[in-house]
Amino acid sequence: MPQRSDPCRDVTPDFRAALAGGPVPGCVTASDPDEIARRFAVYRNNVAHSLREALARRFPAVRRLVGTEFFAAMAAEFIAAHPPRTPVLQDWGDAFATFLDGFPPVATLPYLGDVARIEWARGRAYHAADATALPTDRLTDAEPLRLHPSLRLVPLSHPAVAIWRANQPGRDGKPRAIGPQIALIWRRPDFDVSVEAISPADASLVHALMAGRPLAVAGLLTDPVPMLTLLLRDGLICEHENSPER
């Protein structure tokens, strides 16, 4: 697209700098010029508040763990370092878990990044593509099995599934597990997203199936029946698409 020369200069760079705390651009004015700072602050607050709230909606357990006030300050640091690069805010925030791992003020909460990993994966599962469940009687001739696009395996260094669960609304915040966990995250047919800690053997089964291994091979290390039962119950073994993604 041809760029026309702009005799009044593009206001957006100075305006953007002022949103981040720089001086209000000279071209910005008001009916009462003494009030420009107060008026410009509305834009500053809108940008900061709306992004902070978007992050909080995405990571509610992280917010509960650190408290609303601390979360707001931490969110401001994250937003400055990793602003959204898309107007589709559900696609923003994948860097939050790693940011928390390296954020010194939360060094005493080393599991916070893992809780964020669970919440990020839940959001991805919520918005993942739809797929039709495979009828059970076709299981044997449908290999390699196609698992539901919402299904995610999230290895965690901390008992973060327990911590996440204990910090859901109505829970007491006290986790009952220790040690690393592996989270299985999936969207149920009613569109709610489930999070369960699974054993390393079950995780390797799911991992092998995700990689397209045949069931006979994937199930060598463990009894595959309990995991397959879960996968079938929630429609997580799916019809192949007409044009396979692989």
């Binding site: 697209m1 760029q3 026309r4 020369s5 702009d6 005799p7 009044c8 593009d10 206001v11 957006t12 760079p13 305006f15 953007r16 949103l19 000279g26 071209c27 910005v28 004015t29 008001a30 009916s31 009462d32 003494d34 009030e35 420009i36 107060r38 008026r39 410009f40 509305v42 834009y43 809108n46 940008v47 709306s50 992004l51 978007a54 602003p83 959204p84 690069r85 898309t86 107007p87 589709v88 805010l89 559900q90 923003w92 919520y126 918005h127 993942a128 593509a129 739809d130 696009p149 919402s150 969207r187 569109f191």
Partner: protein
């Protein structure tokens, strides 16, 4: 097909069960485009179900039409959404919301000059071309003005619509908020605005702060529509006739009955206006 000249509501997922059970008598539902850009899941299931029973308006907040450049990737997403749902209307804002690749998540103001007019018209042309449909452009709520502006907002919007063939979305709350903030008369603003090009109306709530020179209103979409905004809406209906009218409530969203009551109030005013027109 244009939206029906009835009251509509901004759709919130938490109201889906109530809407499904009650099937309220509303002209349309409006959704924010950017909330339906995932691949699947509940958002698309709900919007598909709504589409069966209601006219749908898709309202974009992220195209940054008033900014220096349009993001072709985002425009392609909007197009895919419009292709999928075939909405009865697509609208966007006279504002910018991105700086380079960075998305600021607010509707930011622009100066009204010949140069910005050319740029906005280019962007509106491009959007209409890619979507293969007309766009409705919404007047903003503003808190500051620009020294270099060469024309009033009403003239700026009017010239965009006449040059590009786009329609206008008149946000009555934004008119009130901006006029109070800039110590101007909302009725005079309406006098200068091309009401014949308006195809949809928005109503929403605002917050109020106090400055030394008087009130500063903030477009919050977090409260009931204020009394003077209803009065201004009645004036718009008198002048322009019945128009599709959306009540927006995006923050601190109330229970369904409270939101529905706001739409019912707009519906009653539209019905009054129709009766009045029929009697004349």
């Amino acid at each position: 097909m244009p939206l029906p000249a009835q009251a509509g509501l901004g759709f919130k997922p938490q109201h889906f069960p109530a809407i499904r059970d009650i099937k309220p008598d509303l002209g349309f539902f409006e959704v924010h485009a950017e909330n339906y850009m995932g691949d699947g899941g509940a958002p698309h299931a709900m919007l598909s179900a709504l589409r069966q029973d209601y006219a749908i308006s898709i309202h974009g907040v992220g195209l940054s039409i008033g900014g220096p450049t349009l993001d072709p990737a985002h425009l392609a997403r909007v197009r895919a959404l419009c292709d999928r749902y075939q909405p009865d209307s697509f609208s966007e804002h006279l504002a910018w919301s991105s700086h380079g690749a960075e998305y600021l998540n607010d509707l930011l103001p622009l100066p009204y000059t010949g140069a910005t007019l050319d740029r906005v018209c280019d962007h509106v042309d491009r959007v209409q071309e890619v979507l293969g449909r007309r766009l409705l452009l919404e007047n903003p709520a503003t808190y500051v003005i620009f020294a270099q502006s060469e024309m009033p907002e009403t003239e700026f919007l009017s010239r965009i619509a006449r040059r590009t063939g786009c329609g206008l979305l008149l946000d009555v709350n934004n008119v009130f908020v901006s006029c109070v903030n800039h110590r101007a008369d909302p009725l005079a603003w309406l006098d200068d605005f091309p009401l014949d090009l308006v195809e949809e109306i928005h109503l929403g709530g605002h917050d109020e702060e106090e400055l030394p020179s008087g009130p500063l209103l903030i477009d919050s979409h977090g409260a009931e529509v204020a009394q003077p905004v209803w009065a201004l809406y009645a004036e718009v209906l008198d002048r322009a006739g019945a128009l599709p009218t959306l009540v927006e409530w995006d923050n601190d969203v109330p229970e369904w009955p409270v939101l529905h009551a706001e739409a019912a109030r707009a519906a009653a005013m539209i019905a009054d206006r129709r009766q009045h027109a029929a009697a004349q």
